[in-house]
């Protein structure tokens, strides 16, 4: 049971959240301009690191906000929490 610090609501059990996979994968601005391979990569390929991972969660049973988390995929330690749209480095003040 992960303990995830929602940037708005604070720490809650994992069961209140939904996982959203890798963070910072933007929808391509012009999908038509992509090759099939590039589009396939957008659709299906996500980073899968063993270590720190910037990922998305949504506090589904709480404030319903999406946000980003940096979590270690072995220890499950969460080292950063920041709002959707922010980058890990420019998160201002919102940390775990």
């Amino acid at each position: 049971m992960l303990l995830i610090a929602c940037p708005w609501c604070g720490e809650r059990d994992e069961t209140e959240f939904h996982y959203g996979g890798q963070a910072h994968v933007a929808y391509p601005p012009d999908p038509e301009a992509l090759t099939d391979a590039e589009w396939g990569e957008y659709l299906f390929v996500r980073a899968n690191p063993k270590g720190e991972f910037a990922e998305r969660w949504v506090h589904g049973a709480g404030c319903r906000r999406w946000f980003n988390v940096v979590r270690h995929t072995v220890t499950h330690d969460i080292t950063a929490v920041y709002a959707a749209g922010q980058q890990p480095e420019d998160r201002n003040g919102v940390t775990a």
């Binding site: 990569e41 996500r46 899968n48 995929t73």
Partner: protein, 406 residues
């Protein structure tokens, strides 16, 4: 008095030091890596092979799975490869001279909603066309086949029927691995444990010509990845991105019990799958965690939910006790089907993405992978599982078929 487990052979495998070079280096001594090495030797006469394993042999998912073997998959391509596996399983104990307790006790997939019934009917029909044994049972027949299933209509999700594959069953996972290891070793394959691959050696043209390991550099004619959940951590080193995500999947066993459960029961809707192993322990799988994880442990609520679900279907289990829980790292693809074949990197082959259900495929996976490596082109049964499908969109989508896809 319960039967002792069958005697193991007196000799299993050597513990050699790595040689400087091999024709084929297989990365990962799980079931698939070992089967690959075995068939490379047996089917293709390629014996200058090393299987490199970062930990102890078959200590990954091979040590952790609930051992369900079946071939009643929905998609033709899947049914074909899993059925190839099942046919191999049927001859394997004899061929490998190792009684690994392969038990064709049948697998029931329960239907609890009208949609489940449609899906089950579809699957039975598809399986029969594909040459896979399959039957549809109504609730009374379910009860007759497995008397401890609660088939009362007065439960939250009553059993409306089930598909049955009579030839499906279970086997003793560790022994399967050792059986394959033993024969591969006998062919001269080097099984090298505590040897983690940490990098690749490439020539000027980018061809892979060896691997870096915690025990030094090893040259290789071909490198075949069979590293399950860790595969993408390896291909990342080559800039080759794979559509797999590694998730925790848990399982558990009860203490030993007198025989109560004669078959294997799976229920996607209520989320149960359970069998009773040879010694007498109930073996059960819990749900997959939604998040990525390499920790070989999962979230406990999955287990709690699993137990609640188990008691819905099997009230008799109320006072069985959970003895041990553990987790594996399953490599999940977007369509819940494996990726097998050559890669854009010359001399590098992948076989991964078996996710929650690759134990049953072990012999066929090794068979087609060895063939693919030996010939440098996909085996016909592997061809549909090529990486290209994520570009063309020709997915082999087993999701519709299963939330729990063991």
């Amino acid at each position: 008095m319960p039967d002792q487990l069958p005697e193991h052979p007196d000799w299993l495998w050597r513990t050699p030091d790595p040689k400087p070079s091999y024709d084929v280096v297989v990365v990962g001594a799980g079931g698939h890596g070992l089967a690959t090495a075995y068939y490379l030797a047996r089917n293709h006469g390629i014996t200058n092979v090393a299987v490199l394993e970062r930990g102890w042999l078959a200590g990954g998912n091979m040590a952790r799975n609930t051992t369900i073997i079946r071939s009643n998959y929905l998609c033709e391509e899947s049914a074909a490869i899993y059925e190839h596996a099942l046919k191999l399983w049927e001859g394997l104990p004899e061929e490998l001279e190792y009684d690994f307790l392969f038990s064709q006790r049948g697998v029931l997939n329960l239907a609890h909603t009208l949609q489940d019934v449609r899906e089950g009917t579809r699957r039975v029909g598809a399986n029969r066309l594909g040459g896979v044994d399959a039957e549809w049972l109504d609730p009374d027949e379910v009860r007759a086949f497995c008397p401890i299933v609660n088939t009362s209509p007065n439960v939250r999700y009553p059993v409306l029927g089930a598909t049955l594959q009579p030839r499906a069953g279970i086997a003793k996972h560790d022994h399967v691995a050792w059986a394959l290891a033993r024969k591969a070793d006998a062919y001269g394959v080097d099984l090298i444990q505590n040897c983690e691959v940490t990098g690749f050696v490439q020539d000027r043209d980018g061809r892979v010509v060896g691997v870096e390991t915690t025990r030094g550099r090893i040259a290789a004619g071909r490198v075949a990845l069979a590293a399950a959940g860790h595969t993408s951590t390896l291909t990342d080193l080559l800039g080759l991105r794979l559509p797999i995500q590694s998730h925790p999947l848990q399982a558990l066993v009860s203490e030993l019990l007198e025989p109560v459960h004669p078959t294997v029961v799976m229920s996607n809707h209520v989320h149960v799958y359970v069998s009773q192993a040879h010694k007498g322990e109930l073996v059960m799988g819990a749900g997959i965690d939604s998040y990525n994880g390499y920790g070989q442990r999962g979230s406990f609520h999955q287990i709690e939910h699993q137990m609640a679900a188990a008691l819905e279907l099997f009230p008799i289990f109320a006072r069985a006790h959970v003895l041990r829980t553990w987790g594996g790292i399953v490599d999940v693809t977007p369509d819940a089907s494996p990726i097998i074949g050559p890669t854009p990197v010359a001399n590098l082959f992948v076989n991964c993405g078996w996710g929650t259900g690759g134990f049953k495929a072990t012999p066929a996976s090794g068979w087609v992978y060895a063939d693919t490596i030996a010939h440098g082109r996909p085996h016909p049964l592997a061809a549909p599982f090529a990486l290209e499908r994520f570009t063309t969109g020709a997915l082999i989508d087993e999701h519709g078929a299963a939330a729990v896809a063991h």
